[in-house]
């Protein structure tokens, strides 16, 4: 809850006389006064007097900082209080208006997508009326508290937290006494079996948690994908790709031609075509590409995002998640970013019908690193 903004010290000091009439409520505490009148006024007189060091700074005619009064207009004038009450009431009524508007909007304005071009007004209107309904009550309550409720400065003592020393001792003794009385310190057998029993109880939920998923070492799921020797490379719509279908310099996302192939998270692969002489095949992989067509896993070796932003001129593949960049012409080696390993390459060939097929699975696990992974 904020207080009403107050002028800075300097503002107050600039021209005290200008603001002198601001508090013409009959209360001298609110008005600006010169040093002379300060001596006669009640509260601020002392305040000012104590605040000034005559020997160092002051002279009788020096203006004195205007001590702010916290009497509110509403405290001083019944008319102001009534005006404030009316404002609060208006805010409360705004809530009623908001609720009415909300209900009317809810039932009258079309809301379904594409049902009517007017539907674009539904959510904004609903929100505005809802905000009026909530804000009216909220603003009213705050204004009420700030203008009409008792304006008080209450003081409450804090209590210390630490107990007396003998209190602490007594409590400690009570705990120790109970411990003794339970027999635990003396009866070693009891103590040891209790610890054993409670300790083994903690193991009870473990098997339940261990069955939350299959065990990775049995599944080998991270190490293999659906790619096999002879599996065709198909587009998202399931059509196979023939040699020559792909324009030079283009990239096509391909999936294994197996049931559910396009929904497998580790299988997406990209087939890229470039000039055959631009390709620098890795040692032993000279026959993994076909006439400038080369295939890499789409899944980033860093954290698994699809790396598909392809820069034709540089043959760079860019991951939008963490900006790892791979050189497609050069074995998809990392040229920038946090990824540590090249994208796995899929060996491809062309089958008897002229369609691209895989020569086998990826030679290494696809995607992010994991502890049991043993190739680099």
């Amino acid at each position: 809850m904020t207080d009403t903004p107050k002028d800075s010290i300097r503002d107050r000091l600039k021209s005290p006389a200008d603001t002198g009439d601001a508090n013409a409520g009959g209360d001298s505490r609110g008005s600006d006064v010169t040093d002379a009148s300060f001596q006669q006024t009640d509260s601020r007189a002392e305040l000012a007097a104590h605040g000034r060091d005559e020997r160092q700074h002051g002279s009788a005619s020096a203006p004195v900082p205007h001590a702010a009064s916290h009497l509110r207009h509403e405290d001083l004038s019944e008319a102001a209080a009534r005006a404030a009450e009316r404002k609060v009431a208006a805010l409360f009524l705004l809530s009623v208006l908001g609720v009415v508007g909300f209900v009317v909007t809810y039932f009258v304005v079309p809301f379904k997508y594409a049902e009517s071009p007017d539907n674009r007004w539904f959510t904004p209107l609903l929100a505005v009326f809802m905000a009026l309904a909530l804000g009216g009550i909220g603003a009213g309550a705050v204004k009420w508290a700030k203008t009409l409720m008792v304006d008080e400065e209450a003081v409450q003592e804090r209590h210390g937290f630490a107990s007396e020393a003998d209190e602490r001792d007594a409590t400690g003794q009570a705990i120790m006494a109970g411990f003794e009385q339970s027999g635990l310190p003396r009866r070693k057998l009891l103590r040891n079996t209790l610890l054993l029993g409670a300790g083994s109880l903690a193991l009870l939920p473990l098997p339940l948690l261990l069955d939350l998923g299959p065990y990775p070492h049995k599944e080998r799921a991270l190490r293999r994908t659906a790619w096999k020797k002879g599996v065709r490379l198909v587009r998202r719509n399931g059509t196979p790709i023939r040699l020559g279908d792909l324009a030079l310099g283009s990239l096509e996302t391909v999936y294994p031609d197996v049931p559910g192939g396009i929904h497998m998270a580790d299988a997406p692969t990209m087939l890229i075509r470039m000039q055959p002489d631009e390709l620098i095949p890795r040692k032993g992989r000279e026959d993994w590409s076909v006439e400038g067509h080369i295939a890499y896993s789409v899944i980033c070796t860093h954290l698994g995002c699809p790396v598909k932003l392809y820069e034709q001129q540089t043959h760079h593949l860019f991951c939008p998640c963490h900006q790892s960049t791979f050189d497609a012409a050069n074995g998809a080696k990392v040229v920038f970013g946090p990824a540590a390993r090249s994208l796995p390459q899929l060996a491809i060939s062309v089958d008897a019908d002229g369609y691209f097929v895989a020569q086998g699975d990826f030679p290494e696990p696809v995607g992010p690193s994991f502890w049991e992974r043993n190739s680099s």
């Binding site: 060091d53 003081v155 598909k308 946090p338």
Partner: protein, 549 residues
């Protein structure tokens, strides 16, 4: 009124007959809360959480946390006939076919952002004013836990719709889990029920998001509030405010009206945001597909710093003994937040260890008066902000046409260079502000009056600060500061014209109005050692004027 009064009395009697609660209720109603704008930051977090519960409950009525594949056939034409998970389809449904569903969903999302934002800003307030010092270390730890659970809750929540953006986030989360040595692969498989993505994660996150973490947060918040209630709120120093008292308005009616009204105001702002400012338009992203991603994908803001640390990290990976340790993933996403949040939670003890200050502190510090702490805080913020910038490096690159590599390389250097500079600058800044306070106290305020001395010399007269303001600025030791204990004579120093109430053992005692409290009302006391107010507070006469009511 009499009927109302009778009813209230009857209800009160009924309750008191059974619970004997009168004394407790009266003490609670008269509890005094100090007033300062910065104390409402935590309130915003509390209210956002309540709004999250309300809107979240509504969304659960329509959301189906299943990864079963369905063909969408709702109102949103562009996605008609697309195969997607039930979770994504039901989120589309909430957005397009449930009347007011989009508003509720967007308020929920905005409230989540505000919840974490207000926690972070509240944390900064508590840090820079030293509110966490003894005896409030426990609440600091609870607050840290609330920040961490809030981040996890937010991530679990925005992962539920199973759209392309959140699915990519889950893909990254799965990679991060896998990066932990020895147990990572197992943890990932148990979490996802097999290899990513599996069919279990959305349902499991749903249980976590609507039951597990909300309960945890609710419990932590309850404990947080109980501690504030029991230990009483800290207060900024000022005339009449000591280590031994609380000065402010009572719980009932003023504080309750202000705080209650503020809840509705926060809700109103969130309603406006939810209806006028689009957030997380999942229908534009499409359903999750492992082979698709949008350029410029960004997580919710509170995850941004981790995204940034991941982007800045060089590509270090260890291959040894048939095992892989991806330092490039583990360090920025597991180790770094681990260190940051552990350090944050332990900060009160770290500071105690540095300062050897084991005393109670109910009065807050002004940041300038603790240059080391303030500088450390500013340094940490600069570190965090740079991670946040790094998290948006692709966006910055495209807006300002700078290469993303340049930004990354620059930030890799800056993250080590800038924080120390910020530390140094902040410390100098604090010391400079302290000097300004010295000036004001020792030489007073420039009056604008030029006087000519008989010798011909011109001097500008200055006006000494009134004592309460000196107290505010210079900081006397609590023992030396004019105390305003409960029950003491009302003629204490420097008070406003507010009606004074001393709450003693739960019973308010009305007192004569006090003298003006002055223009430093919202300012606070500096607690510098060397400066003392030149005038001590002599007993003042009562103004004797009753307040016009």
């Amino acid at each position: 009124m009499t009927i109302l009064g009778k009813g209230a009395a009857g209800t009160g009697k009924w309750v008191d007959d059974r619970l004997g609660s009168s004394n407790f209720v009266r003490r609670s109603l008269n509890k005094v809360f100090p007033d300062h704008w910065s104390f409402m930051l935590g309130e915003i977090a509390l209210y956002s959480f309540i709004i999250l519960l309300l809107t979240g409950t509504y969304i659960t009525l329509f959301f189906d946390a299943s990864m079963r594949e369905v063909v969408y056939n709702g109102s949103y034409v562009p996605l008609k006939g697309v195969t997607m998970s039930e979770a994504y389809a039901s989120t589309l449904n909430i957005s397009f076919d449930v009347r007011g569903g989009l508003l509720m969903r967007q308020i929920h999302h905005w409230a989540a952002l505000l919840f974490l934002a207000s926690i972070v800003v509240h944390l900064m307030r508590v840090f820079f004013t030293g509110a966490y010092r003894k005896p409030r270390e426990i609440n600091w730890v609870i607050g840290t836990l609330l920040l961490v659970t809030g981040i996890l809750e937010g991530f679990a929540g925005y992962s539920l719709p199973d759209d392309l953006l959140s699915g990519t986030g889950l893909r990254i989360a799965s990679g991060i889990t896998q990066s932990i040595p020895v147990v990572g692969t197992w943890a990932g498989f148990l979490l996802f029920g097999g290899e990513f993505p599996g069919t279990a994660i959305v349902g499991r996150l749903y249980a976590v998001h609507i039951l597990l973490i909300p309960l945890l947060i609710l419990g932590l918040i309850t404990f947080h509030m109980m501690m504030i209630w029991y230990q009483k709120h800290t207060d900024f120093p000022g005339p009449g405010r000591t280590e031994d008292n609380v000065v402010g308005s009572r719980m009932y009616p003023v504080y309750a009206a202000k705080a209650g009204g503020f809840f509705f105001l926060v809700f109103a702002v969130l309603a406006l945001l939810g209806g006028l400012a689009q957030i997380n338009p999942i229908w534009l992203y499409g359903p999750y597909d492992a082979s698709q991603v949008s350029a410029g994908s960004q997580p919710d803001w509170y995850m941004g710093f981790l995204d940034g640390s991941t982007r800045l990290m060089p590509n270090w990976e260890i291959h040894a003994f048939s095992h892989t340790i991806p330092i490039n993933v583990m360090l920025p996403t597991v180790v770094l937040p681990g260190i940051l949040f552990t350090g944050l939670g332990m900060w009160p003890w770290i500071e105690q260890w540095i300062t050897k200050d084991k005393g109670y502190h109910n009065l807050l510090d002004r940041p300038r008066d603790k240059p080391m702490r303030t500088a450390l805080g500013a340094m940490s913020i600069s570190f965090y902000v740079m991670l946040l910038i790094a998290g948006g490096n692709d966006i910055i690159a495209s807006i300002f046409s700078i290469s993303v590599q340049t930004i990354t390389h620059t930030l890799r250097a800056a993250i080590f260079i800038v924080p120390p500079l910020v530390y140094f600058a902040t410390k100098r800044f604090c010391l400079g502000l302290q000097h300004a306070d010295h000036e004001l106290v020792h030489h007073g305020i420039e009056s604008g009056t030029i006087r000519r001395l008989p010798s011909g010399e011109f001097i500008e007269e200055t006006v000494g600060l009134p004592v309460p303001y000196q107290i505010t600025l210079t900081g006397v030791e609590p023992s030396e500061r004019p105390a305003l204990h409960a029950g003491e004579s009302p003629e204490g120093p420097g008070y406003g014209d507010k009606q004074l109430v001393t709450v003693h053992d739960g019973d308010p005692v009305l007192e004569a109005p006090r003298r003006p409290r002055g223009f430093f009302r919202d300012k606070t006391i500096s607690r510098k050692e060397p400066v003392r107010p030149e005038a001590t507070m002599p007993p003042l006469e009562s103004s004797g004027k009753p307040r016009s009511q």
